[in-house]
């Protein structure tokens, strides 16, 4: 049973307040894009053992989506941040680096 912090309303809440939304920072590929790009966008997943960047929604709260950096092996939370961004902010990257030096996730590290 995770504890997550919603960066929008600042509430630290129980997992039951939130809803997981899968991998973060997916780039949408629309009409005209290559088949493999579209397949990658819709289906291919990082599914890492370790640091993961993922989406959550504060569904039984403020209703906002946000991102969480979390370890899938220890369930440790490195931080949560806005969903309105294309990459994790530096302080989140730093927080991960402090705990998992040398980490990388897709193009981020």
């Amino acid at each position: 049973m995770l504890i997550l912090e919603c960066p929008c309303c600042g509430v630290t809440g129980e997992e039951t307040e939130f809803h997981g939304g899968g991998e973060a920072h997916l780039k949408r590929f629309g009409p005209g894009s290559a088949d493999t790009d579209f397949e990658n966008y819709l289906f291919m997943r990082e599914n890492p053992k370790g640091v993961h960047l993922e989406r959550w929604r504060h569904v039984n709260g403020c209703g906002k989506w946000f991102h969480v950096a979390r370890c899938t092996v220890t369930l440790e939370i490195f931080g949560s941040y806005s969903a309105q961004t294309l990459e994790p902010p530096q302080e989140i990257k730093d927080a991960i680096s402090a705990k998992r030096p040398g980490w990388s996730w897709r193009d981020f590290s």
Binding site: M1, L2, E15, T16, H19, G20, G22, E23, D35, T36, F38, E39, N40, L42, F43, M44, R45, E46, N47, P48, K49, H52, E54, R70, T72, V73, T74, L75
Partner: protein, 415 residues
Amino acid sequence: MRRYSAFAVAREAARYHTGWERAWRSPEPKKKYDVIIVGAGGHGLATAFYLGKNHGITNVAVLEKGWLGGGNTGRNTTIIRSNYLQDPSAALYEKARSLYETMSQDLNYNVMFSPRGVIMLAQTEHEVRGYKRTAHANALQGVQTEFIGPERVKQLVPIINLEGPRYPVLGGLWQARAGTARHDAVAWGYARACSDMGMDIIQQCEVTGVRSEGGKVTGVDTTRGAIDCDKLGMVVAGNSGPLAEMAGFRLPIESVALQALVSEPIKPCMDVVVMANTVHGYMSQSDKGEMVIGGGTDGYNNYTQRGAFHHIEETVRALVETFPMVSRLKMLRQWGGIVDVTGDRSPIIGKTPLGNCFINAGWGTGGFKTIPGGGWATAELIAKGEPGPLAAEFGMERFIEGRFIDESVAAGVAH
């Protein structure tokens, strides 16, 4: 291999059972094998078994990072059914179910397949129509199922509450020849048979790298050294993502926790398996007497083999509602496994971007029931290099083509 039988047990009893031989050997890895299977779970062992039995390939190693049968094979709720809607699934799951029927005899190891019947309850009009559709489809697929009314449900499951205040039981999809089996025994039985064919089952041997040359696999690095192979089968369920990464490709898979629990054992009170998808829970009674209970998956990537307790609450609530007497039982133990779920929640059996490297993964919550079928199909794939009819529709290319095998159409819950 010394055959198992009541006579053998009696003979051994005379000498205090000191004469039993190992069920499987514990060999050192050889330098090279024709085929390496990564993962000594049910599917991996079954793949090896049918490579030998159906295709005569016995220079095979099955590598296991822990102990054989220790992943989802040993932590599922043992339901075996084939009442699937879509043709490819029904074919695969029915193949598996039919192989389960004779598995004890085929392996000379009693896996206790118990064709006690499975009911999937229909508790909304929508579910009634969905299950009637499945019954029609099954009839054409050679899968024996029928839609039964509430009276028949009550007859089969005396402890059920038909007139639940929330969702009355309107009927159910009944598969009389579905059932359960002893999960560990399936892995052990295959392991014994594989070992007997001369295959090497190597436990405590974790794959740390996949080696290739010119786009083709050449072997693996392991915690017990490098081992060469001509062909590689990846059959590692929840660990498919990390293994695929070693081989340099990604999968349409995410790994999440699935939990289950058992009650304390009681005398027999439920002879069939019941699944209630509207309220998200299912239950059967093991031969030991425990009520074996499961529900849906947790909602985020997780490799801990633990889940959150609120899912247990939801499942137990559903079952207390469906079977009120459960309220007076106690939960003995809860546990979790890591299931690999694909984009359409159907499995992948197929080639990979790496030559001579094949994958069997993505079983989600349906892995145990397909062990013999999945093994059969994967063995054929590895032996021939191309999928046979059972696996034909389950390749990864379906995600690029948009040709999905979607079973949530009929029932969207774990099992």
